[in-house]
Every structure is written in C-alpha cells, then in structure tokens.
C-alpha cells in the first residue's frame, strides 16, 4: 500500500505551469514525476482560460510600446502588488515567445477566411485558440498529449498531502493516490509546487471539484512564506444557476470580430457595466467588481444573483460561431439575442500565494519552488504560468541536478502515512462525510469572507471555522472503505487543509487595513498607497502565524493615487 519512489524533480500540479515544468525538465534530461490531483489537462484553473491577450507588433519599436502598455495593464491587474521585475520578463515572454510556442504545439489560433488572426476589432487585444472560452482547455489537451508521448512518469488523481523535509530542506513528499487507494513516499531533489489558484474555499468558486488550497498549506507547513493571500478576487460574470454551471464565464472581454462586450444589467433592468467603459482595458475584471459593488450597495443586485449578462446587442453570428458560452443559453431555451442570463460572483484568481523569487521560482525554503498561480508573483494568466514552468525547470536543471538525494526524515514520513491511514475509516457510522464538512467550510467562507468584508464578519468566520474544527472533525468519517476512487479519503485530508487555509486567509485579511483591487473591507474602504503599498507576508513560527509587511518595489509602473476612495481607482 505504501510505495517509495524517487525522482530528480517532483512537480505537484498539472496546469499550465506544472505541465510546462514537467516537459521542460524532462527535455533537459531530468527524471520527472508529475503528480496531479485531478486529471492532467482536465482539472484545475488553466482549462478556464477563455481569451488570450494578443499583440501584433510589426517592429521592435511597436513591440516596446506594446510591452510598456502591457506593464501598465499588469500594474493594475496586480493592484500594484505584482513583482514588477518578474512582470517585465514574463511580458517579454508573452509578447515574443508564447504565441509561437502555442502554434508550434499545434494549436490553431483562430483565423478568418483570408488568413488574418481573428481579434476584437479595432483594438486587437484578444485572440483565441480557437474558440472564446476554450483556449485553455485546448492548450491543456495538447500538453497532456505531450506528457504522455514522452512517457513522463505521471500519477493522476493523486494528492500530495505533506512535504517532507530534512534539516529544513524540502526533500520529497507524501501523496495519496485515491484512484487506487495507495500512498506514495516520494523522494526528490527539487519539489515544484504548481497547484494553481487556491480558490475553492467558498461556496461559489471557479475552482474545479478537487480544489482545496492544498498548495498554500503544504508550503506554509514547510515553513515557506505566504504573501498577499488576502487579495482574493471575484469573477463577476459567472452564472447563478444551475449550480453545476457556476463556473461558466460570460467574460467581459471584447468578443471576436467586434469591440462589443457582454453587458451587465441590474435588477431594475438598468445597464451598469460594459467593459467598453474602460476601452484601454481588455480585461476589466476589477472595475466590473467595483461597479457591481455599487449596485449591491444600492440594493439593485446581490452577490449571488439579481444581476444579468446581456449579449442582446451582439451579432448572433459571432455568438454562434466563436463562443463556447452561447450553447448554454440555447440549452435552457434562451436566445442571447433576446434573453439575459442571471449571474453570481465566484472566488476566482488571486495575486497572492507562496512568496517566490521571480527569476528562479525559489521559495525561501531550500528545495521548494513555486510556479504558476500558486506563487505570489502575479494574479495568474496562461502565458505567465507557462513562463514560470519553463523558468523553474531551467533553474533546477542548472543548480539542482548534480545534488545528491537526501533521505527524508523517516519519523515525519511515517507520521504522515499514519495520519492518512487513520483517516481511512467509516466510523462513526452516522458521522458526516468529508464532502459535507467541506460544504460547511465553504458556506462559512461565503457568509463571512465574501467580497464585502469587515472585522466583525471575519472574526465570526474564524469562530465558525473553529466550531467546525471542534465539532465536525470528530464525527467525520468516510462513506466507504473501498480503495477504488475513494474521493472521501482525499476529501478528509482536504478538510484539514481547507480549515488551515481559510484561517490563514482570514488572518491575512484582518491584517490588511485598506481595500485594494479585489480585496474590499467595509471598515477600511480606501486604497492606501501611502501605508499599504506593502506585501503582507506570513509564515509559521513556533506553530503560530507570524505576519509582517514588506514594501512593494515599484520599478516600472506606479499607481496614480496616494490615498483614494476604493471606487475612485480603476484597479
């Protein structure tokens, strides 16, 4: 039941970052083990990338100008908390290498009959591979095949439950393969955390089924620093019902072949948002959120409904030809030319995560790297996470390959195996399923850690989570002791991680006394670039969370305001 395996590099997570890291490391001659909690190419955040930011530069000069524009955009996209040196490098990659890399993989960047790339017109900020809503899924399908083709060692439906250390260095991990009911003790010279966004902590979230913020907790428990995890941002134009369709994005980005964008209407039938209100910004997610907040405050919308997306003004041919979303209208008997679709917000991306070095993806714990959305470098985005995967693999190849394997602390490994096997019980017979406890946690987070936060609400959230710890954990049990696809077993591990992650995010949120980007506090409704252009950093010391701040380095772009009302700033 317990298998011991060894690899040069353990990559945890199979999205754009993890898959790219695995492929790059393998091609550089490293022995890779890729562990994916879901199915490679079918789970996680990368599959949701709907549109890709596009650049058509015809000269170096145009390229420099475009890069400058992108940096301005990214400054706002990361609410000025992004690592700007990293942003510049990943932007160069995005502009100069990413598109060729996509096409070389065999992706089809949507063209028209004449052969021109289909973009929004006239600003040409977006392109698709080859359908709006499916660009990420298509890329991940290709990457899956690339991994399988190289016969890279792959464990799917396997969750890493703990990192193993030796003298403070990360030297491996323990993982639970819940498809087969087996436990792995893995030894590796380098461990890359590429677990993506940790957003499935709330009732409404774009996290896929298996998401549970394990990445944050694994890093935190190993002593790594977390940074800005309070900066949870919410996707506004997702679907209210049915529940299964919660993750359906009705993006505010410009559409193919036009400059039209989806519009938002409130409960009174008034249009309160159109991305074209911000023509310079093709990805106006935060401004969208602020406009919604106004509507909620005025009683004309709620966060879980009462506002609607309209495509009524959009050419139906565009809707039918190039959008993944349109069919969902038709499935419910709706006509996008006539009907609206009710929305609700979801926990989506986050600029925070594990603090990492933007050049090497190293965390402050030796042997542990963070790549992709789990790192605190940027809010996310397919080109950036792919860049991370590439960089981390190259760095590991140069610096770690020749190092010897270190034996993990056997006490630690055994303790983790015991923890997992102790969870494998159906007692007490009338107890709650882990999935139900996860539901309880997510309800608490929706209630107390939504977009509208306050000191009181968050303290109540902590108290409710504590109650769950005290009451629900004791009578939590699995529904079956079958070893085949025992999701209950991994859910039981996730419950613990979720409680830890939720507590962490609340404490980080209590600490930041301002509002910024997707982070809004009713008790501190200003964006304070004088006192709070800071990273909030937390790590575990003596078993307790220790929080501090570190000033942000504004190397290339700066916010326009010093202190301003939250609604005044456009990021």
């Amino acid at each position: 039941m317990v298998q011991h395996v060894r690899a040069d590099v353990l990559v945890i997570g199979g999205g754009g970052a993890g898959a790219r890291a695995a492929l790059e490391a393998h091609d550089l001659g490293l022995d890779v083990l890729l562990v994916v909690k879901g199915l490679l190419g079918k789970s996680g955040c990368s599959i949701f990338a709907g549109s890709l930011d596009f650049f058509s530069s015809e000269s170096d000069e145009q390229n420099e100008e475009a890069i400058h524009k992108t940096m301005e955009f990214l400054g706002k996209y990361t609410h000025y908390l992004g690592d700007q040196e990293y942003l510049l490098k990943s932007t160069h990659f995005h502009h100069e290498e990413f598109w060729a890399w996509l096409e070389k993989l065999g992706l089809y960047i949507l063209r028209d009959e004449r052969g021109a790339i289909v973009t929004d017109i006239p600003h040409k900020t977006q392109a698709w591979a080859p359908k709006m809503g499916m660009s990420g899924a298509t890329l991940m399908n290709a990457l899956r095949k690339e991994v399988l083709h190289r016969k890279i060692r792959l464990l799917e439906e396997t969750s890493v439950t703990a990192l193993l250390q030796k003298d403070g260095r990360v030297v491996g991990a323990v993982a639970l393969d819940f498809l087969h009911g087996e436990i792995y003790v893995i030894q590796a010279k380098a461990v890359v955390l590429a677990t993506g966004h940790s957003n499935h902590l709330s009732k409404r979230s774009t996290g896929t089924r298996e998401g549970a913020a394990n990445g944050w907790v694994l890093a935190y428990n190993a002593g790594a620093q977390l940074q800005n995890i309070e900066m949870q941002w919410y996707h506004v134009s997702d679907v209210r019902k049915p529940d299964a369709w919660m993750r359906l994005h009705l993006y505010p980005n410009p559409l193919p072949g036009t400059q039209d964008r989806a519009q938002l209407f409130n409960s009174n039938g008034e249009m309160f948002f159109d991305g074209n209100m911000y023509p310079e910004n093709p990805v106006p997610y935060i401004t969208q959120l602020k406009h919604l907040l106004r509507q909620v405050q005025e009683g004309k919308a709620r966060f879980d409904g009462g506002y609607f997306t309209s495509y009524r003004h959009v050419d139906p041919e565009i809707m039918d030809k190039w959008l993944h979303q349109t069919q969902f209208f038709h499935k419910l008997g709706l006509d996008p030319a006539r009907d609206l679709f009710e929305n609700g917000i979801t926990w989506h991306m986050n600029v925070g995560g594990v603090r990492a070095n933007g050049d090497t993806m190293e965390t402050d714990v030796p042997g542990l790297y963070a790549a992709g959305s789990v790192a605190a470098l940027i809010t996310g985005g397919l080109p950036n996470v792919v860049y991370d995967g590439m960089i981390v693999a190259r760095h590991i190849n140069e610096h770690v390959r020749s190092q010897p394997w270190l034996e993990p602390d056997s006490v630690q490994a055994e303790a983790e195996v015991k923890r997992l096997t102790d969870l494998f019980t159906t007692e007490p017979v009338n107890g709650r399923l882990p999935a139900q406890v996860k539901g309880q946690i997510r309800d608490v987070m929706w209630e107390h850690m939504g977009f509208l936060k306050s000191e009181q609400g968050m303290q109540q959230g902590l108290a409710s989570l504590q109650r769950i710890r005290e009451e629900s954990l004791a009578d939590m049990r699995l529904g079956t002791i079958s070893r085949r696809y025992n999701a209950d077993w991994v859910d039981a591990v996730d419950v613990q991680d979720m409680l830890d992650a939720c507590e962490l995010i609340i404490r980080f949120s209590l600490f930041r006394k301002e509002s910024r980007g997707g982070f809004y506090r009713e008790d501190y409704p200003v964006t304070d670039n004088v006192n709070w252009l800071q990273h909030v950093i937390g790590s575990r010391e003596n078993g307790e969370l220790k929080l501090s701040t570190k000033p942000v380095e504004l190397l290339y772009v700066k916010p326009a305001h010093e202190i301003a009302d939250y609604f005044e700033v456009d990021y």
Binding site: K42, E103, G106, Y108, P130, A137, H149, M246, S482, R484
Partner: protein
C-alpha cells in the same frame, strides 16, 4: 416540474474490491428548476451524506470528465437536465473503477498508440504561420473534442482491435490539419483498425459537442486511406465505385468477388448453402460472376461521372 418536487435517481453501485456484485440504490433529492444531472449527484452526497463515486471537474462542458449513462443514453452529467426519474449508470464499454467512475487509461493508451501529435510537413515558419479558416475548418471541428468518451462508450465495434471513435477523432485532428504530414491513413488502418467500424452513427449521435464523428473524423480518415490506396479498404472502395458506374444497381455477388479477390473462396461454402436453400438463385450467382447485371440506362452514370470530373478541371 415545480419546486418542492423530487427527483428519483436509481444509481448503479459497485465497488469491485469489496462488493460481491453490483446493485442499484435509489435516492430522492429535491428538485430545482434547470437542475443538471450533476446537481442531483452532488445533492445525494451533500444533503444525504451518501458516498457515491463519480467524476467531474469543471461543470461547464470543458473537461469531459463527467460522462455517465442516464436512462440508457450517454450524457455529460453537467450538461443534461435532471429528469424526474432517472437510472444512472457508468458509461458502457469501459472498465468500472467504482460506481459511476470508469477507467480512462485504456483510452489514453489507444490514443497515444495512434501517435496523434502534429508532425509538420514543413518546419514551423514562425508566428503567425500562414493558415486560413477554410483550410483549418475540418481540423477545427475535431478541436471541439473534450475526450468525454461518450462516443466510444456507445460504439458496438469497440473491442480488442478497433481503437474506437474518440481515439480516431484525436487522430483526425492532425490528419485533417493542413500543416500535418504524418502517416495518418496508415496508422488509422493498421493501428486503429478503422476497417472494423460498422458506420452505425452511434458516435455522431452521442457526441455532446456536435462533432460529426463518423462523417468527418472516421470518413475523413477513410478518404485518406482510399486516396493513398491502403489495404482492402481502399480496394473495396475502388471496386464499389467502379461497380456503381458499371452496374448502377450493385450486385453483391460481383462486389464480393471483386472486392475480396481470391479470398472469396472462403465464402464458397456459404454461397453453396444459399444456393441450395434458394436464397441465392443460381442464375443470379452466374450473372454476378459474369458481371451481367446492369441497370437499364446504366451508361448515364458514366456520362454523369465524366461530366463531374470535367467540371472540376
């Protein structure tokens, strides 16, 4: 259905490692307008504390992981509406892992054995490469495939040899791509055993993303096989076209004789039985052998065929 009514779901349960035999369990959950099958499954777990194994990730028809059988039809649980009475079972043709979860590794193996990754005819010229929507349209249709396995689950020819429609769609994705120069037809024939496809349209019927699996993926590969003269499939097609033009109404005897060549001898015992029993008239057999069946104005077909060819040039 209104709110406050119930959905009754009879669900297949089987844990091969601890159960002696499969069974069905019935659950009732409250109904909500526009509920999907997936919502029902989730309610069974969350509201009733019943553990049930099923796969899903995205809920919005991108990941292709949630395929199940509902009332005898293959569906995506996230896509299809819940019905008041449902029998929910795992997808057929696949090994059951537990309850509604089926093995996908066999599909992976078959797909990768077809070596489906793009093999460029010419070295990549740099971004953006010259491509038009028209020339990419056939491959773009295949790019809608989310590998949900509904088509393969319904395929009656899927077995030891035949790779199945889903794997062939992945092959067709590059076979129909104008940039590709790989040996796709040969692979479809020799590794994919595409000749075993019975053209029953179960795959097209099952596809939730409206890919015309048989007409575009499988027939697309067949077209390449015919154009490259590969195997008995190409030969059969050449014979059929020829006989259509010569005979108009195709005689099965002539067809079999010319398609199978000397292999038709293996049909001889059967032919004898058919003649003895009167199913196959001796006259018909002889006419067929001597290629004497002809439609009355059969030469019109040749005129038409030539006219079409000339029109093209």
């Amino acid at each position: 259905m209104t709110d406050n009514e119930f959905v009754r779901a009879k669900i297949f349960r089987f844990a091969p490692d601890i159960d002696d035999a499969p069974r069905y369990e019935t659950f009732e959950v409250s109904h909500e307008p526009n509920m999907r099958v997936l919502d029902v499954l989730e309610r069974i777990i969350h509201e009733q504390g019943q553990s049930l194994a099923y796969r899903w990730f995205c809920g919005v028809k991108k990941c292709g992981a949630c395929g199940v059988q509902v009332n005898g039809r293959p569906v995506l649980a996230c896509w299809e509406p819940a019905e008041p009475e449902m029998v929910i079972e795992p997808l057929p043709n696949h090994q059951i892992v537990r309850d509604l979860v089926v093995d996908r590794q066999d599909f992976d193996a078959r797909t990768m054995s077809l070596d489906p990754l793009l093999k460029r005819k010419e070295p990549y010229p740099g971004f953006p490469e010259p491509l038009t929507a028209t020339e990419m349209a056939p491959a773009a249709e295949m790019m809608d495939c989310i590998e949900c396995l509904l088509c393969t689950s319904m395929c009656p020819a899927y077995g030891e040899k035949f790779a199945g429609p889903a794997a062939l769609v992945q092959l067709a994705k590059t076979a129909l791509d104008p940039r590709d120069g790989g040996p796709r037809a040969g692979t479809a024939y020799e590794v994919g055993h595409i000749a075993e496809c019975v053209s029953c349209y179960e795959c097209t019927q099952a596809c939730p993303t409206d890919i015309r699996v048989l007409e575009h993926a499988i027939d697309g590969l067949r077209r390449q096989i015919v154009a490259q003269d590969i195997g008995d499939v190409a030969h059969h097609h050449h014979v059929y076209r020829d006989l259509t033009v010569r005979q108009g109404l195709v005689s099965p005897v002539t067809l079999m004789l010319r398609s199978k060549g000397w292999r038709v001898l293996s049909e001889l015992p059967h032919a004898i039985v058919l003649v003895i029993r009167g199913r196959l008239l001796l006259k018909g057999l002889i006419d067929g052998l001597l290629n004497r069946n002809r439609m009355r104005n059969v030469e019109e077909l040749d005129v038409i065929a030539r006219a079409l060819q000339e029109d093209q040039t």
